[in-house]
């Protein structure tokens, strides 16, 4: 809303103060005597007001307005090196915002009381039959005094409306201030005219409206104050996410461990985290083993075991062991910081449903001003006596009730809460459009590997064909597949590694998408892949097709392995179905969503998996490029398609689908590429996302209805269309209250969404 507190000189002068401080991390400061030397070097830089060094943390905080490069140069000349510390400062910003909001709330409440203190007694006086007209010199004098008091209220409690309206007018734009200033100003000017020149105004119209002016200013300030409070609650999800990050980290500096503020952790710092502590920055474990509770970030309740080489993510809880890790992402680059940023951006983006309200908001205020003029003219031309008084009242009421601020708030408030609510459940929604479309999904395509299944397959059977030893076949196949990152290849490599087999170097490795791979080892031509690959390369597999089918019917994936075009083995790999895939798919289906499975795997394995999880419609042996085609086919059938996948190979299909759901760890590519990212692996995230999306859309519609009702019904009522039929005309005070509380209604209704819980069956 177009309000500002122009009384705050403190705020204005603070602009001239230094905008903040720069923190530097110093290398090479091995003795306490270095402190004075470094501080001295820094204070000699132009613009620096103060430099304070924390010797234990090897950091120095520089206040003033100097360029970071000049500071680094000064430290270098003193014989040390320095780097600028990147501050995440999210929490500081939020604290500051809360303080600003609190101060603003108090100012508005004070202004509310000023308005109410005069308006309420006047209103009670008029209700109990007090004379509000000017007929005698005594009344004139008394009302002149009240008029002066009302002017004081306008100055002390409503000045910001008038200043805002004037600034806006000069700028050729109109906003809420314009309407309030015009409405209350008109009522006051008319009342003063009645006092100043009563003889020019008809007897019946010599009515004063000071109570309306004072009450409207009081009530609108109250509405704004309550809205400020309610708004604060809508960003609770962001506060929770920010709260996940610990404030300090234990870092190894110059051979000693020191606790330093989180903002001062640098890339490649070595960080120690003890059991029960939170991970301060993203990194890779160097030493130790532990179980990490990632539930705060992903909603996944089971702790995850982590060893050396595994990644750890900011904000997650180290449960059991002490670990030492190297920081790989700090400050604004951590996964948590990226998630917070993404949620904030999504919270401020609008779904298409808000566009109509946007267009209306853009033109509304001048339209209302025109309606107010037309309404006044209609009363003057056709209204009963006192026509002038009726004209003033109706124009004032139209101006006051019509403010479209509730309309402007209706969509963003719900989106803010809805996106935040989803984030709490480990579902990252990228923008408002995705939020809206997710509510309309009629068909959901699920990739099999890594989506329905764990994505961590294991070798279950090796059936050799020519009397070779199982291990030698496994060694050869694993040596070949060590160059591949395919989940099935990794299963074979892991199986060989677990058996302690030594892998040889493969040459001419060539992965054939959707088929398998070829390579050469010690002049042996190797082929590993599906039936298609074997047939293409004329390998005779006829004797083992039944074996493969049998394995496939057990939900195992059979892989043929040929050496020099002779079938050497059938290797079966099984990828266990995720624990909750069955209930999650059932949940989607019971919500009327058509669930379809896509997989590059063979038909029998696909069928077995589909049957296990209760999917009747599936497409097997689908090449990566065909996945997008399947999405298009469903869209042509009139379905609104959601596509869920976990890999880069799903990217075209994710992009083509109406809504792409990525199953990710919450970092990098997954967040960037998908419309919606499910932080935990569970498919319940899909049903949660759709449920939150539906609840948010419902909430937006309620808000739009509420806001439109105030304007669509309020404006004609205020203009007096009901007067000829029922003798009803809206009081400007009621209009002021309705306008003030319309925004509050919208904000409060949006806040109801915070209580929403997606039901898991």
């Amino acid at each position: 809303m177009g309000y500002s507190d122009t009384d705050s000189t403190q705020e204005k002068t603070s602009l001239k103060q230094p905008s903040g401080s720069i923190d530097l991390i110093i290398d090479g400061a091995g003795c306490a005597s270095c402190v004075g030397k470094i501080e001295g070097a820094l204070t000699s830089v132009k613009g620096v007001q103060q430099a304070e060094m924390n010797f234990a943390a090897r950091t120095v905080s520089v206040s003033g307005q100097a360029e970071p490069s000049a500071l680094i140069q000064a430290v270098k000349q003193a014989g040390y090196s320095a780097k600028v510390v990147q501050s995440s400062s999210e929490e500081a910003l939020l604290d500051e915002k809360e303080q600003v909001d609190l101060a603003y709330y108090k100012t508005l409440m004070r202004k509310m009381w000023i308005g109410i203190a005069l308006g309420l007694p006047l209103m009670i006086y008029s209700i109990v039959g007090g004379e509000m007209t000017v007929t005698t010199p005594t009344e004139r004098l008394a009302w002149l005094f009240v008029g002066a008091l009302t002017f004081s209220v306008m100055y002390f409690a409503g000045k910001h409306f008038f200043v805002g309206a004037w600034q806006s007018f000069k700028n050729h734009s109109a906003n809420m201030d314009t309407l309030i200033a015009l409405g209350t100003g008109t009522a006051w000017v008319y009342s003063m005219a009645v006092i100043a020149v009563p003889e020019l105004i008809p007897d019946m119209a010599r009515h004063v409206y000071f109570e309306a002016t004072a009450m409207i200013i009081g009530l609108i300030n109250l509405g704004l104050a309550l809205e400020v409070k309610a708004r604060g609650r809508t960003s609770e999800a962001i506060k929770r996410l920010i709260g996940l990050q610990p404030k300090t980290a234990r870092v190894l500096r110059d051979g000693i461990e020191v606790d330093i503020p989180i903002e001062q952790v640098l890339l490649h710092d070595i960080v120690r985290v003890r059991p029960g502590e939170k991970i301060p920055v993203d990194g890779v474990i160097q030493e130790g083993q532990t179980a990490i509770d990632e539930s705060m970030l992903t909603g996944e309740p089971m702790p995850v075991v982590k060893n050396a080489g595994d990644e750890v993510v900011t904000g997650t809880l180290n449960k059991t062991g002490s670990i030492v890790f190297k920081a790989t992402r700090v400050g604004k680059d951590t996964a948590l910081a990226q998630i917070i940023k993404m949620v904030k951006v999504a919270q401020n983006s609008k779904p298409p449903i808000g566009r109509l309200a946007d267009i209306i908001s853009a033109y509304f205020v001048p339209v209302v001003m025109i309606i107010a003029v037309l309404s006044a003219l209609a009363w003057l031309n056709f209204g009963p006596e006192p026509a002038l008084a009726f004209a003033i009242v109706s124009a004032t009421t139209v101006l006051i009730i019509a403010c479209p601020c509730a309309l402007g708030l209706a969509t963003p408030m719900s989106v803010m809460v809805g996106v935040g609510k989803a984030a709490e459940a480990g579902v990252l929604i990228r923008n408002g459009a995705a939020l809206q479309t997710a509510s309309k999904i009629t068909a959901m395509i699920l990739d099999k590997t890594g989506t329905i299944t764990e994505g961590a397959p294991k070798v279950t059977d090796i059936i050799v064909t020519n009397g070779s030893h199982e291990d030698s076949i496994l060694q050869l196949a694993a040596s070949m597949e060590s160059s591949s990152e395919h989940p099935l290849a990794m299963a074979i490599v892991e199986s060989a590694t677990a058996k302690g087999l030594t892998l040889n170097r493969a040459e001419n490795f060539n992965a054939i998408a959707g088929h398998g791979a070829t390579a050469t080892i010690q002049n042996q031509r190797l082929l590993l892949g599906n039936e298609k690959l074997m047939r293409d390369r004329k390998v005779d597999i006829s004797g083992y097709i039944e074996t493969a089918q049998q394995l496939a019917s057990e939900a195992k994936t059979p892989i043929y392995f040929a050496v020099d075009e002779q079938l050497a083995a059938v290797i079966a790999v099984s990828d266990p179905i995720k624990q909750d895939s069955i209930t999650a798919i059932n949940r989607l289906q019971s919500n009327g969503i058509r669930v379809v499975m896509l997989t590059g795997d063979n038909r029998l394995t696909a069928k077995a998996v589909a049957e296990k999880v209760g999917i009747t419609e599936f497409f097997a042996e689908v090449l990566p490029e065909e996945k997008a085609q399947k999405v298009a086919e469903l869209q042509q059938q009139g379905e609104v398609v959601g596509m869920t996948g976990d890999g880069i190979n799903d990217a075209p299909a994710l992009a083509l689908a109406n809504v792409g759901f990525a199953i990710g760890t919450g970092t990098d590519v997954a967040i960037e590429s998908a419309d919606i990212t499910l932080m935990r692996g569970s498919l319940h995230g899909l049903a949660d996302a759709i449920a939150v999306s539906k609840a948010t859309l419902r909430n937006i519609k309620q808000n739009l209805f509420g806001a439109f009702i105030y304007n669509v019904a309020g404006v004609p009522f205020a203009a007096g269309v009901l007067y000829p039929f029922f003798g009803l005309l809206l009081s400007p005070v009621i209009a002021g209250a309705a306008m003030a509380f319309s925004s509050l209604t919208v904000v409060m209704n949006a806040n109801r969404l915070r209580l929403f819980k997606a039901k898991e069956h």
Binding site: M1, G2, Y3, S4, D5, T6, S8, E11, K12, S14, L15, S19, G20, L93, E96, K97, V100, D101, A103, Y104, H160, V163, G164, A165, Q167, S168, F169, N171, H172, S173, A174, N175, M176, D177, E227, V228, R231, K344, V345, N348, S349, K350, D358, S361, A362, V365, P366, M369, I370, V373, L374, A376, L377, L380, N381, C405, G408, L409, P412, N431
Partner: protein, 117 residues
């Protein structure tokens, strides 16, 4: 009464001209940076002209403590930025193609437009 009606119609015409037909003066960005103040319910300047295909910095300084003023949105560029009170917040605009890019606060009561030429 005739004069009152004529005055009313003229007032309507004035509203239409002032708010819709009048083209406010645009302020051209120099040295690729423009400072925009958010105070008293408006952006100053609100009509900004930038060079097409060239990155531009918009530095917002907010002294208006209304919560609505705390967010600046440029929907056409998918930009949404929190603007803390009394601190310069710089938004980097990517090189823009020719056209108009409106920006506004979260309730759209404060409005401005970036014209790329």
């Amino acid at each position: 009464m005739l004069w009152i009606n004529i005055s009313g119609i003229l007032l309507i015409a004035l509203i239409v001209w002032w708010f819709w037909l009048y083209k406010p003066q645009e302020v051209e960005v120099t040295n690729n940076k423009m400072v925009i103040r958010i105070e008293n319910g408006v952006y100053t300047p609100a009509h900004i002209k930038v060079k097409a295909n060239q990155s531009t910095l918009l530095a917002f300084i907010r002294t208006d403590n209304s919560p609505c003023a705390a967010t600046v949105l440029i929907p056409g560029l998918e930009i949404s930025e929190e603007i803390p009170l009394n601190k310069e917040t710089v938004i980097t605009l990517p090189p823009l193609t020719t056209g108009e890019y409106p920006f506004h606060c979260s309730m759209q009561m404060y409005r401005g437009v970036i014209k790329s030429e």
